[in-house]
Amino acid sequence: MPTNKLFFAGSGGQGVLTMGQMVTYAAMYADMNATWLPSYGPEMRGGTANCTVVISPEKPVSCPLIYEADNLVVMNLPSLIKFEGMVKPGGNLFVNTSLIEQKPTRTDINVYNVPANDLAMQLGNARTANVVMLGALVRTTNVVPVEMIYKIMEKTFSGRKAALLDLNKQAFHTWKPE
Amino acid sequence: MKAVFKQTQGMLPVSTSYCPGCTHGVAHRIIMETLDEMGLLGKAIGVAPIGCSVVAHQFMNVDMCESAHGRAPAVATAIRRVHPDRIVYTYQGDGDLASIGMAEIVHAAARGEKFSTFFINNGIYGMTGGQMAPTTLIGQRATTCVDGRTREQAGMPLKICELLATLDGPAYIERVALNSPAHIRKAKKAVRRAFEIQQEGKGFTFVELLSTCPTNWGLTPPKAMEWLEENMIPYYPLGVFREPEVK
């Protein structure tokens, strides 16, 4: 398996950095090499949030920075406009259509429309929108094993938070391809 | 024959490098005698400054280190953390403490660091050759204010005890003078009080010792003592500025 480069973008509070971290944790649990790198700087406060994840199944990750992405997740419109060009030809773009009405302009990539906020609302918890999106990404690309995502959820939602485990697993599976 | 005087073990048996008539020797002696009398020489750690007393470790018979100019309170802060059961003190002049090292002394005092600072205030830079200090008095001559310090050109002298007394951190602040036997006896009591309060773990203790610099003042040692009395004490009044709260 070659290196897989992922980029997650949205605004602060959309769980964009968490999405990237969950993929990185899952890669680690699956004995793969991975790096997670957030954008950082003064723009961190209240502005855009994005992070890069590089997964390398065999060799250590050489470079944690990317200039093109195998998989791009955009959670809001400014992110689509800014980062659409980053997707490799033949790569995947996951669009949060709940908040992005505009269509992507690229025709050489696979576009997956995921109404993440709407699906999360239907489940009764708007905060799971990033998990809905994560499910769409992982189930479509198999970039990390689904069981490893479960493992993280089970670690995160234990004890007093155990009630949230089923909700998150449900959110992870709620999106269906068109 | 009955011994009526014995040299303190706190001072090494060497001649100091200080100028004749300089009160550094007096300050050294009362501090080291006090540690000796309190049985603390083996437990004391001293921090020397930059200035004439940079070589204090050649005379004071305790574990010592030098510090960069003005940073002795930062150095002592860390030493006290590594050795919480030791007695730690800094010995600093007016250029070191009241000019370049103002941030370190103010913050150590505000934190209530459990060490003692002995502040030698002679109103002039000794080692570098008589330049103006932050505590040089208005009208006092120095090589960087040859006609005397003016408020217009150099601002006002700093009153460190008064300044530190505005803080809630320090446990004990006193100003003493080294220009007469009576004042020196009082100074030694203040030094002892500082060490006692440190030993009790009550916080930061500070003793300012008004001192003479006959060489750079251009006065004989006796005249320097008089000059201190007539000029420094009126501007830098002696007394206790902070006492630990009695519970």
Binding site: L37 | D63, C65, S67, A68, A74, T77, I79, A103
Partner: protein
């Protein structure tokens, strides 16, 4: 060894140095390493250690000096402008032979510069940014795991040599997360054991000898003797502390020299060049002082050019030239100001250099 955990660089650095025996931290917040003092304030007391936020970088380095002089295992961290403020203290620590571990998360300069990664502190950290003749080992890890391993060993190394030891990283490494293994904690040095373990330290003369820690030596002959003693020690460090990773230098057509973050960008560029049929190798200095000059002797006869890849206007390139000794053309690929080249930029510039030297 415990199981792998995903850790952010800054927190991993702090945890590793605690596990390596550090029990005292002094620091002043500065981006991009402020998570280190935050972590230390939270975690160090749990290990029985002491944290203090200093009033300034001057306060911090001098607290580190007091701590080391008293025999404690101290750690301070800062970033380029803060490290610049500490230079007087570093010269002092080296002269007085006081051990401490320093971390420099270097950023773009000069001046306040930027908070993005930079390597323009290379001359400052390898040549001694303070006054006088002195040296300090500087290690530049390229991954969080490597940084952990270096920081874990650093307190013992500083003690062994009675010298400050610096670890050079940047904000990118501080913010990045990678799966890592944390080593088992070492037994820390207790205050009560300092008089016997470090008899030179100032801990009170009741231990039987009087200790003085100092750097002033007014008599020229005494100072000369002291500096010669220091350089005898530095000479042994030069033999024992060189650390370097080399890859394919024997057969390479082009050999890169890069450290830290830049080495990882170069590594990806090498993979691309390889796929294009260009044989590329790399010398990755892990110790920047002492510098791995001898690694250059491994470069093979196919080499057409040696390229120093740096995030500065060309500082390490001087050391590269010393290592190359005129045997191959030396070129520079660089970005500054906190800008990073992409691996594709590096590939393109390398191809141009190869055309030019053929």
């Amino acid at each position: 060894m415990s199981e792998k955990v995903l850790m952010k660089g800054n927190e991993a650095f702090a945890e590793a140095v605690i596990r390596g025996g550090v029990r005292f931290y002094f620091g002043y917040p500065i981006t991009p390493q402020s998570e280190i003092p935050e972590f230390m304030s939270r975690e160090l007391p749990k290990w029985g250690g002491k944290f203090l936020q200093a009033e300034s970088e001057l306060g911090a380095i001098n607290m580190a000096y007091g701590c080391g002089a008293a025999g404690g295992n101290g750690f301070i961290s800062s970033s380029s402008p803060g490290i610049a403020l500490m230079q007087e203290g570093m010269s002092f620590l080296c002269s007085a032979e006081v051990p401490v571990v320093l971390l420099n998360a270097s950023r773009g300069g000069p001046g306040i510069g930027s908070i993005q990664p930079g390597q323009a502190d290379y001359n400052q950290v390898t040549r001694g940014g303070g006054n006088g003749d002195y040296k300090m080992p500087v290690f530049a890890p390229a991954s969080i795991q490597e940084a952990i391993d270096i920081l874990y060993d650093a307190p013992a190394l500083a003690d062994q040599w009675r010298n400050p030891v610096m670890v050079l990283v940047d904000g990118l490494m501080g913010q990045m997360m990678e799966p890592v293994l944390m080593p088992e904690p070492k037994k820390p040095l207790e205050s009560a054991d300092i008089p016997t373990v470090k008899p030179w330290a100032i801990s009170g003369s009741e231990k039987g000898t009087r200790s003085v820690v100092k750097s002033l030596r007014l008599q020229p002959e005494v100072l000369e003797e002291h500096v010669e003693h220091l350089f005898e020690k530095y000479g042994r460090m030069e033999k024992e502390l060189v650390r370097v990773e080399t890859e394919n230098v024997e057969n390479a057509e082009v050999v890169f020299v890069a450290f830290g973050t830049m080495a990882r960008l170069v590594k990806e560029a090498m993979e691309i060049l390889e796929s294009q049929g260009v044989k590329a190798g790399m010398i990755r200095p892990i110790s920047l002082w002492p510098y791995p000059y001898e690694a250059f002797d491994k470069i093979g006869k196919n080499c057409k050019a040696v390229i120093s890849a740096e995030l500065s206007m060309g500082q390490m390139v001087q050391d590269v030239k010393l290592g190359v000794e005129g045997r191959w053309p030396v070129r520079l690929i660089h970005r500054v100001g906190g800008m990073l080249p992409t691996s594709l930029d590096i590939v393109e510039k390398t191809r141009k250099i190869l055309e030019e030297v053929r």
